[in-house]
Amino acid sequence: MAVAGLQKTQIFILQKKARKFLTGLQALGVMEITNLQDETPPPAELARRYQKNLQFLDEVFPRPRGFIENFIQVKPVVKKTQAAELLQKRPDKTLAALEKLSAEWRAQTTAMKQLADAAQKQELYAHFGLARARKAARLQKAGALFGRVPVKKVDPEKMQVLRADEQTAFVQIIFWRADETAVRAELAESGFEEVLLPLQKREYFREVVSLKWRLDKLRRKNAELRERLARIHAAEYTRLAVWTEQLTNENALQQWSAGLAATEKTSFLTGWVPAAQKKKLRRYLEKFSGELYWREVEPDEGEEPPALLRNGVTAPLEAVTSLYGMPGNKDLDPSPFMAPFFIVFYGLCLSDAGYGLLLLLFAVFLLARFFTNLTKFGKKLLILNIYCGLSTIAVGLLTGSVFGLDFNTLPWPAVKNFFLSLKIIDPLNNPLPLLGLSVGLGVLQMLAGLFLRWILDSRQKDWGTAFLDSGCWFIFLLAIFGWAGLSLLPAGRSWSPAAVQLADILRYIVIGGAVFMVLTQGRHQKNPLLKLGSGLLSLYKLSGYLGDILSYTRLFALGLVTAVMALVINYLAALTGGIPIIGVGVMAAILVFGHIFDFLINMLGAFVHAARLQYVEYFSKFFEGGGRFFRPFSWQTKYVSLE
């Protein structure tokens, strides 16, 4: 539980062994090295060639992308054993072939584009004809213009229409050279677009035929080339990708180990190892005995170790923590302490058993389908969604919301009775219990936060803060809420006198606490009047706490939104069911899309608001953050995922 202890470790090693050592350390993946130079050194010549050709293949054969791929980066999965096999032979021949083919491919695509452009131009010229162009060129005092105008703007008195399709007319205009400027100005207004006809040997339309024939020939060649590339892609893509990774990494290792050189003969590296992994590292270091010296040291003054969270069942909550920021070295890891709150809050916000089930299935599906491609963060997030799905199902059943169904219309009495027997709260008819529950959870979480602050202050032996600030506030608020809670209980029960007595005691604690607070909270001030003043002012913090608690009413409101939206969707669907012929189709569409929409938008809302309550209302009581992630030195692949 909580933040793992990290040991600062320094290693001195013979320079000639540094690279071998680093390679092994990378495979081990237990140590963060803080004095590596570049995060990703530029690739060397061969690695770059591999990268280039791999990218070329990706361009020609892009992988099909589904909607999910917008959220998860999917790379081809390669088993480690398969990778080792592929790495036995470097596919330099394939690379050379690919380089040739890619050059050819590029030349072909450029040539095809040029031919297509030329053919298009000649087609345009063909509307006018070469004979006319030649005649026009021979004119002396008159001039001829050729061009396109929109059909609507054709002026038959001034233009001779040679050909026209639905929108454009191809026209010829003959004019006196003396009037040229005026004619052109007038034409420009009518949307005339001049076409300059080149004088060439071959008729335009013949040229078109010839160009198209050449283009077709080239296209066939290109298709052949594509097939050859496809064969290479199918047979060799994985090998190329694995080798690209390998070469890039070898190259990086080379540069990293060179950068670690400290003296003429030795290299030095320093970094952090989680305490639990020390044995593993030591065993590895022993393999190099005689070639290296290592020691464990204390961190320097002001140096903070990176944070590595270590939780059991509550590990998925680390995703929520890391979204906010990692714990600093004085912090507790808040993940286990917010686990029950977050999961219950999420359930209350999504609040429909049907959607809970959808969420559960969705998360399980994504986990199963994309397991290797998911980052650690992604996996945690999905497992968290499984927990949240379960809590949503529970909340949905207890509040009687399953896809917004009205249980009384269910045709099977057994199912109906099952659902009705589980339903113990009806927020639609009596909102107060659920509203009260939301506020109650808020009080609980706030007290938990203050309690944690108290523990933390005590742990740091900051006794003044621990007892006069955090501890005092904790007891004061506990008494206030206890008192308030007791006064809400119904009177006239067997335990009522005891409750009244307890309430009395709590009242004295509250009054005493307030006085104590006024006297102590101003202790930082020197002036006795100011002491009292800031003591009084500190009670104002109470309104802040009250505001925090009211913020939890969102749990009720968001839960209601999901449930009522589901009801509304069913209601609208039922209205359309009566339309003849298409009614059933419309109804089904409204039901399916409506519920998917309601599910998605509220899933997002539930996550965001459940997280916000942790960050703003809960963390502010005891958590500071500002730590940085522990990033062990390991192989980061770019093109494939190694399994």
Partner: protein, 156 residues
């Protein structure tokens, strides 16, 4: 049709209109920035979409309140008789959602737009962007809560 029912319908219309304006301005603002970010890097579409969706909730809340009024007055089947007082009560009950949704939707859209720009530069920080935008939504949620509680307590 009596004045009471008219007032109730006006309330419903204001709730959905206010929420809808807020959301459409907000989602629109966020969408403009999102399109710019996606133009630079189409892979960020998913992340920007999440952020763009956030200011859309005010419209949904407004719709919800309007529908609540419809159900309460049974407008779609046989409208219940709504006294003038009750009608005005319903109208006023809808105002928290109408006003809160209108303003918070616009401002949430602005925060979402800025967060999308942030995702353009730091794609891993999408979670923080979501939370920043959700801070604004609090007030739409509170408005919704109040409108619903008012509506629940009004006796026709």
């Amino acid at each position: 049709m009596d004045i009471g029912l008219m007032c109730a319908i006006l309330g419903a219309a204001l709730a959905i209109g206010g929420g809808g304006i807020g959301s459409s301005v907000g989602v629109g603002l966020a969408g403009e920035v999102a399109a710019g970010v996606v133009a630079e890097d189409p892979d960020k579409f998913g992340k920007t979409l999440l952020l763009q969706a956030l200011p859309g909730t005010q419209g949904i809340y407004g719709f919800l309140v309007a529908f609540w009024v419809i159900l309460k007055t049974s407008l779609l089947n046989n409208p219940l008789p709504v006294s003038n007082e009750a009608g005005l009560q319903i109208l006023f009950a809808c105002l928290p959602m109408a006003i809160g949704g209108l303003i918070s939707g616009i401002y949430q859209g602005r925060v979402a737009a800025a967060s999308i720009a942030m995702v353009g530069r730091k794609p891993d920080e999408v979670g923080k962007g979501l939370i920043l935008a959700a801070m604004v939504e609090t007030y739409a949620v509170l408005g919704l809560l109040m409108s619903i509680l008012f509506l629940m307590s009004i006796q026709l």
